[in-house]
Symmetry: C2
């Protein structure tokens, strides 16, 4: 059973009201890094894995993509995407990534934003991505940084009595697997993987690693969300870009 927290009503309401503020880690840290890694969208076919509300899919067509296939497990998210980011060059499809099947179609760019830490079988996913890329196609994904997913307990800032952050608590780094946490609702499951697993699996699939980004906030984020200064102390996300050199 694939996890579908976005169709939990409590979670969905909290999540969408957060995202609507436009003042989030996504806006200032993760999305700028993903976008900076794309060589060009002009004339490209795109697969958006875990498209959420369709904001990034819409960004792709607004910047020259000729076709975007946008996939998400959550009917809530797909309905919101169809409502807010409808476009005749975007196909929204509601299915778990793991079950997504496509024949006789490949893509120039495959992007996945903060979805892969929910997927149990990382190797299978990466192999599927590799098989769906055109020659010279790009794969760019973000995931929670192993530094933040490793420790099994939550509340990972060590604080003094005044609530000041002293350091980040790190532990259990080599113990890959499930991490359960409370994020609006109890029992949200994410999967911790080491950096070497994240990278070696991509390379073993046949893709060529081009770049790693451990993003910090863009300047406007530091003004609007001062706590993003903490991204200097420990990275929340990692962005990996790889290329399919051979067909």
């Amino acid at each position: 059973m694939k996890q579908n927290i976005y169709d939990n009503d409590t979670f969905f309401k909290s999540y969408t009201s957060l995202r609507k503020t436009g003042v989030t880690y996504n806006d200032f840290v993760e999305q700028p890094a993903i976008k900076s890694a794309i060589s060009t969208l002009n004339g490209k076919t795109v697969l958006d894995l875990g498209c959420g509300n369709g904001q990034f899919s819409k960004y792709c067509v607004d910047n020259g993509a000729v076709k975007v296939t946008a996939v998400d497990i959550s009917m809530n998210m797909i309905e919101q995407a169809k409502h807010e980011n409808k476009h005749d060059k975007i196909d929204y499809i509601c299915t778990p990534i793991e079950d997504y099947e496509v024949k006789n179609q490949k893509f120039d760019l495959i992007v996945s934003s903060l979805m892969i830490h929910y997927v149990e079988d990382y190797t299978e996913l990466i192999e599927k991505v590799e098989s769906l890329l055109n020659k010279n196609g790009e794969f760019i994904f973000s995931t929670e940084h192993p530094i933040v997913t490793s420790r099994k307990e939550m509340n990972n800032w060590m604080k003094d009595e005044g609530g000041n952050k002293l350091h980040w608590k790190l532990d259990h780094y080599q113990e890959e697997g499930k991490r359960e946490q409370h994020w609006y609702v109890d029992g949200v499951v994410k999967y911790h993987r080491t950096i070497s697993t994240l990278i070696n699996t991509v390379i073993q699939s046949g893709l060529v690693l081009e770049k790693l980004i451990e993003p910090q906030s863009i300047p406007s984020g530091l003004e609007k969300m001062p706590k993003l200064m903490n991204e200097k102390r420990r990275p929340s996300f990692i962005v990996i870009k790889a290329i399919k050199q051979n067909d």
Copy 2:
């Protein structure tokens, strides 16, 4: 001025008596990982950057290397190497890596064991390595893991009153540069770099990343040095392997 702590008498005595025990992080964690990453030594020419006491250079000729050039900044180490690991297929050269010049000679394998965190200009070093590799040549190096070099203060295990390790203290991850510490003597300088810097610099030099290893202890290490269990909690080292695909 390049740092040469190994020619400090106090440091050198402590360091050599530690290494002679054969019960070290090098023996059980770092060297097994380096060796596992080498495709073959048979018939290969090797450059050993930061060769220390020559143990690894000797391992190379014992396992089929036809010629090893072994470089170290420390006269103490080079003299020990010439004494303990002398071999007519090994040339020991005493010079800082940064000043090492060689004309009309390239290598099939370049290895550097736990030296690169002492080097200030990482980009220059990687570009030199790339220029010294034959086509299809391998570059394998280990360095202290960014998780352990990041925090500016030392004593990075958070302990309870009974001395039990609660978690690893992580901080200052994105602030690259000098970290000064006490290791037998005061003022040992190491350079912290993020994982993205370590990897992207290799890729930008033209080398192709093949593998990342965040090694744990081999089983015999856990018997002889029980504290190596802590390598599961946070990795001390990272090993990077890259290939020169084009000449």
